[in-house]
Amino acid sequence: MDKKNKLILALGAIVLAVPFLNACNNSIDYVSQCHLSDYLPTGITSYENHTFLDDGIGLVTIQKYVDGDTTHFLQVEDGTQRLVKARYLGIDTPESTGQIEPWGKKASAFTKSKLETAQTIVLTTDVTEIGSAATVDSTGSRYKAFVWISTKANCPVEDLKLLNLWIVQEGYSTGKGISDSTLESFFTNADLQAQEEQIHIWAGDDPDFYTGPATPTTLQELAETFEEDGSESSFNGASVSFEGIVYKLSGDYDAYLYDTDTEGNKYGIYVFAGYKSYSPLRTLGNRLKVIGTYTIYYGNPQLTNVSYNAFLPEESTDMSIISTGNQFTIDTMTINEINTREAVNMVYTINNLTVYDGYTEIDSTTLVPSGALTLRCNDANQNQISVRIPEDVWAYDSNNNRADDWADFDGSVINITGAINFYAPDEENPNTGYYQIKLCASADLVVVS
């Protein structure tokens, strides 16, 4: 082959290769092609003078950033603010709160960054339903929403950008649950483009998500590290392994473990199983070696990302049973004794508390009692403590009827066994809070008079 022919062949090969190379550089900006104004029904030309909850379209402001696909907004109507917990339509970003998944923190940060710079935030229902009241998702507690934003104040409706679609286009979520929507093709195309370009979740491993071996530690070390700096542990977000005995089952899937040091001091931890039933974790008296991600969840340490499979065990990530049938006792304490950071995640019994006040939680979406109650109690010395009854644990009053209002216990004297939690009512000041005892199982609250 002479020089001329080689050059021609080489140029031909380049020409052949260019379309493939260019495929990565010709990204389509689907977000800029998707205009809310194209989908407004007759009679609605703007988000002004409408509300999301009543009309399926309306202005909101931020109340709380939750994660990549959930944000709490505030809707103002007639001078009154109403909380709107919004679950973004068409997406499902990796978890970043209770469970931590690769790319979860980054997806959450992306959503937050776009909302923080937004001067106009408009929520709508699926576009075919604009004009009708907003509807909730299958949990019954979050509104399904498209979130349209702009960095301009009072942005015209045609210039708003669909954040849900943006998240998919940037590769922070796959498109999901949108097969009935008019906007489905935008999400499908943006999703497939992000996959082809291999960005973010489609790029493979999250570089900041630790996947190496777990750091061996003890519950004592975790507890002491947590105490050292007052709010957070140096282990926060790390993969750790430690041993502990299962001594209280919590809710439907989770458990509290404890271990002792050489002097007999006890240290506890809450293990969040991610809605999976792992039999070793749900068997009292098991001494386990557990492996997972240590996180601080609203001021309380917990272990997440645990796993177990008896059929295909994986020593480097699965929990394992060290021994079974271990005896344990749950100590009876006074209010003063549990009012310390060392008590967090320990399970104790406190007897003869008198309920003098309380709070019945109302679901902000359905506006009916959620089932969660807070009982404010004092002991014979007028020391005070709150008893938290979560919505997934049923409590029974003195007539053995299931309680749905704190007043069902008003004046009652109760004995309770539960886990000590730290509760910060003001999320802006997580260190400003108090200790409470959380009911883990129905039988652990006994009305004595």
Binding site: F20, P94, G177
Partner: protein
């Protein structure tokens, strides 16, 4: 210049070929696998891949979750014409019919009959697959096997055992639909009227409106969809018997005996209200067992009610992901995908996936593993469900599938809610559903 042009030639030709064949330059065979698994299920899949790579070290399984089944279906319908589909994917039979219509799916019988690709002793025998699961992949209008079972589910009746124990003088767990409605009537009229049960909403709830319609049609011998002798699929649910069925069900709804996801407040899953104690019986997928778990009461599980003890009246819907293979990639990629499928459905692997997810293993030998037998005897709800469904072999049904049958499945699920909520008349709801379904179908092929 000569050296430069030669290097340029070599580099660009290599680059062109690499990009065109999907080779990433590591010299390995890459298999792209799309599914709908959550994070913890993917972790288990990764373990299987590690084990697979001990046998096939030169194969890389690139797997990714693509959202729900509907999203996966939509993406594949976009990716197939563009040639960007994976080598293998989770599927439902209705979806495979759509892929078959554009000639995108591999007939795996070519593999089964191949000396090297057929089932080895390590893979287990082909007839070890539960027959009804395997036959699902042969139910298409085109002869052949176009999908293969990965994990299967059906619907079961979860019930609040404490509630039934407390009221045992009045009610027992129903096994037939006649018993179900009688039980619902007693609960509604004699038990829910008591103060302690005042927060209850319904005696029973059914998660899937589509499954309710399709299962009831199957059990009562009512036409839903059919394949005729010429191999054409037809929409036939717009008939008097089906209308009578819906009228009857709407009557039970009006009486407050039951609800479905389509009519229940906030469109919540029945498991939400079941675990909250607002209903006492929940009919849902075995794949969603973990959501039916409650520490507040003992949860019992039995097969769904039937209309008779034999024949069609005794049938249960079969669901759960199968896997299909696409006409894409090199022979090495296609064969690696097939070998991977055989591996992840080996006895131990299908058992492991079933234990983690609540789905049923697809191999008979999995149920015979001592470790699985031991698991079935535990008190975990998923084990109770598996023990329950292990008795149902031979009683599963699959509806005819053809291009557009996925739409039929969707629209029949809207009929009950439209009539019950009064948004459409009985005839109007059926007529609208029929028009939508038939428009989606190509008949007379």
């Amino acid at each position: 210049m000569k050296k430069l042009s030669s290097l340029l030639l070599l580099a660009t030709v290599s680059l062109s070929l690499g990009l065109m064949t999907g080779c990433t330059g590591d010299g390995k065979v890459h298999v792209k696998f799309w599914h709908t698994m959550g994070q913890s299920n993917q972790a288990l899949l990764d373990r299987m891949i590690t084990d697979f790579n001990e046998i096939y070290p030169d194969v890389v399984i690139d797997h990714s979750a693509q959202g729900d089944y509907a999203a996966l279906h939509t993406k594949l319908l976009s990716a197939i014409p563009a040639g960007t589909m994976p080598n293998m994917a989770f599927c439902y039979p209705d979806h495979v019919a759509d892929y078959l219509d554009i000639n995108a799916v591999v007939n795996v019988e070519d593999y089964l009959n191949d000396e090297n690709l057929g089932y080895s002793s390590e893979d287990g025998a082909l007839n070890d697959y539960i027959s009804s699961y395997w036959e699902e992949g042969q139910s298409y209008l085109t002869d052949g096997t176009y999908s293969v079972p990965f994990a299967k589910s059906t619907e079961v009746l979860f019930y609040n055992k404490d509630f039934f124990d407390e009221n045992s003088s009045l009610i027992s767990v129903p096994t037939t639909w006649e018993e179900m409605w009688n039980t619902c009537q007693i609960i509604k009229e004699q038990i829910m009227t008591q103060a302690k049960y005042s927060t209850m909403l319904y005696p029973m709830a059914y998660d899937s409106d589509s499954n309710l319609f399709i299962t009831m049609c199957e059990q009562r011998g009512i036409d839903y969809t059919t394949n005729d002798a010429t191999g054409s699929g037809h929409i036939v649910f717009n008939n008097d018997q089906a209308k009578s069925l819906i009228s009857e069900l709407v009557g039970y709804y009006d009486d407050g005996y039951f609800a479905t996801k389509g009519v229940i407040p906030n469109s919540a899953y029945s498991s939400t209200y079941f675990t909250e104690g607002k209903i006492v019986m929940s009919i849902g997928s075995t794949g969603g067992t973990s959501y039916q778990t409650s520490s507040n009461f003992d949860v019992g599980v039995v097969p769904c009610p039937v209309t008779s003890s034999e024949g069609n009246g005794n049938k249960y819907i079969s669901q759960g992901p199968s896997i299909c293979f696409f006409k894409k990639g090199t022979t090495a990629q296609k064969e690696a995908a097939w070998n991977f499928y055989k591996f992840i459905t080996r006895s131990l692997n299908t058992a492991a996936y079933g234990v983690l997810t609540g789905y049923e293993p697809v191999r008979t030998s999995a149920y015979e593993l001592p470790s699985y037998q031991s698991y079935l005897s535990t008190d975990v709800l998923q084990a109770k469900v598996s023990a329950c469904t292990s008795t149902l072999e031979g009683r599963y049904f699959n509806s005819p599938v053809f291009y557009g049958s996925a739409t039929a499945r969707d629209v029949v699920g809207e009929i009950f809610a439209n009539v019950a909520l009064g948004t459409k008349t009985l005839d109007g709801a059926f007529a609208d559903a029929y028009v939508t379904a038939t428009a989606a179908c190509k008949t007379g092929k």
